[in-house]
Subunit: 408 residues, 2 copies
């Protein structure tokens, strides 16, 4: 968690972190600025010191919301650097000014943030060439921030719980909205004027519900029938809802403008469920329950995925383990960490095997079965936290009913 | 524009482009996939050939919307690479498989896309070390995509015009919404029950209006009084609207889920304007009109900024040219290109001097004056296109009235 950053820096022999990157929202910038919504600039954190924010004069007010020291670019003579040097040299000389202003006179500097790859591979090389006394380094895999994000502190947990509560309300509102309709002879869901209810209309309803609660959609899935059989197909806006089709509804909004997420999925079948969808649903729910039994703090997370793989394979479903090229059956990992990013560590995967359950993890558990050729898919997903008592607790309170009856 | 990409590759001696990058929406991925909303994967474009998309099995359906060839990762044996190699080596060996599958057997490969800097500086070095026959290169400044984005083709212009029309409607709706209120004795704007109208309420109204038109907010500014004096202060949600305060309202939404933007700003003063705000407003409008007179295809864009700098400085305002550390007066550039990114080339700046007006440019013109210590700021911004006839035409039809009268 955030309080581990100095230890994580020490483990990497970093004397400082320099967060750079392009314009726009950035999770790492958010994390290191206490949620100040700066859309550019640099953050330098010296080992065992508070971060310092370096922003354009236009962003100093926003940056001050971090509670940290804020330095305007012009105070450091940015314009003079650009007047005297080519732009790339000016940029890396400005990095040096920021580092020195944060008390970092030399040493190993971890370069983080999100930016244009083509730009930063050049600037990285130039900085290592031009700036005497500094060594800039990158890292892959379980990076400093991936490790920090692994566990959440109390402030983060409270924010995630609040997003969870609001998301559950929105899913309930969506259920009630659909339920308020009726079906015509064609098994199409229609309003009282007989007009079809489309996926686009449902998504718009959901987005407004999210916004009214200070949340924003980040690409929800509302996929029906064959589309539900592709785990990441988002669904077709123009398509009308139909009775007896599986609908995979995966909602993973975040705080408006960037922030913490909640991630949940329900599978609904309006009016009735076909026997094969019901059977797949029952298998998914059994897998869901079995996975929970495997949980234990300190245990490897991949064990839980293997419980689900064993169960599905034993029930005749192909999986990503039994056939890595399979496009049907159980084709993804069981879950992932959730925070400022929608996909964080830990992974619950048979491939990424190094993660272990820890207090402070916030993770999805989301078994699913996909049969696009048979015209359906099923996934059920809750978001869980691991409490200080070592318990795995769901934040996703909304009911797990498959059949959504119409009452319009 | 997009049809220039082969020429832009040739000018850089690139045999291929590899677009990589992290999860989520990416403008370059959008641009090179005809707007398919893939959230990961690679795109390879060989010189003089169509792009090929390499995506996980979960995204093949979405990727096919590009109209280009789509290859699933597993078809190329991704899992075997991860089984046989450390993850970084597996990743760069997979890049090689993608390149070969797109017919690129060797040569210079431009690496593009947006990703974690720490990751890509490592992978870039590793790819150049491990992959015989390929040289991976980055670039800064006026990059291939910055140059391609400089001018828009007909399809792009039509999309931007549609976003412009919808944004103008939303601004009109916001004007009417505010106007439907009244003021209390305190000069606070209130509804018919006497409850204050806050900035947060106005922003929520605007976001819903955007969404109903298939647009999404990307961080609008609605900043009043002293906040309006900081160009990028977004405004305080809890603050009630007041009579006689300058409000800078900068709205720059994009197509829902990522896509083309429109960018416009109006300054409003509810009920009445103070003389000093009116005077600054008149200066800004004069600067706006003078800047348009300087336009000509083939002319350097910085000339237009200099016209505005000359005018403001002549009228006693400090500028970023007369004092680069100034926080009041005219403290930013006159405008910028707009497209998939909110800030593109050309720049209308006295610092970035290399851009020249071209048919197909889509640019903002946005003079402003900022006096935070005096408690106000003013900015007026339209989005312009340069037509095939070489005319500079505004897409921002909404009126430029300063005073917004209440009629509630």
């Amino acid at each position: 968690m955030k309080s581990d950053i100095d230890a994580l820096m020490r483990a990497r022999n970093l004397d400082a972190i320099l967060i750079a990157g392009g314009e726009g929202y950035s999770e790492v910038r958010d994390y290191m600025s206490n949620g100040a919504h700066i859309t550019g600039g640099y953050i330098v954190k010296k080992l065992d010191a508070e971060p310092v924010l370096f922003v354009s004069g236009m962003e100093t007010e926003e940056a001050k919301k971090s509670g940290y020291q804020v330095v305007g670019w012009n105070e450091l003579g940015l314009m003079d650097l650009y007047a005297d040097h080519d732009p790339d040299t000016a940029t890396v000389l400005f990095w040096e000014k920021c580092l020195k202003a944060a008390g970092v006179d030399s040493g190993t500097v971890g370069l983080y943030g999100r930016g244009d790859i083509n730009t930063y591979v050049q600037l990285f090389a130039l900085a290592n060439q031009k700036l005497d006394g500094y060594q800039f380094v990158g890292e892959t895999g379980r990076t400093l921030f991936a490790e920090a994000f692994l566990t959440k502190d109390e402030v983060e947990i409270e924010r995630i719980k609040s997003v969870a509560d609001r998301t559950n309300e929105v899913v309930e509102a969506a259920w009630n909205y659909i339920a308020s309709h009726k079906a015509n002879d064609d098994e199409t869901v229609v309003n009282e004027d007989g007009e079809p209810l489309t996926i686009g209309m449902v998504k718009r309803f959901i987005r407004v519900q999210l916004m009214e609660r200070g949340l924003e959609d980040t690409g929800m899935i509302f996929a029906q029938g064959r589309d539900a059989g592709f785990p990441h197909s988002r669904g077709e806006d123009a398509e009308a809802l139909k009775l007896g089709q599986s609908i995979v509804f995966d909602l993973f909004p975040r705080e408006l403008g960037g922030g913490y997420h909640h991630d949940m999925t329900r599978t609904w079948s309006i009016g009735y469920a076909t026997p094969e969808v019901q059977e797949a649903y029952d298998d998914v729910m059994t897998a869901f329950d079995k996975s929970l039994e495997d949980f234990g703090v300190g245990k490897a997370t991949h064990s839980m995925q293997e419980v689900v793989l064993d169960y599905f394979e034993g029930n005749g479903h192909s999986t990503g383990r039994s056939d890595s090229t399979a496009n049907e059956g159980y084709v993804h990992s069981l879950g992932h960490g959730v925070g400022l990013l929608i996909h964080e560590r830990p992974s619950i995967s048979h491939i990424r095997r190094e993660d272990v359950w820890q207090v402070g993890n916030v993770v999805t558990i989301e078994p699913g079965l996909y049969y696009p050729e048979k015209g359906f898919g099923v996934r059920v997903e809750d978001l869980f936290i691991i409490t200080e008592n070592g318990e795995l607790i769901s934040l996703t309170s909304f009911k797990k009913d498959l059949v959504l009856p119409l009452n319009g």
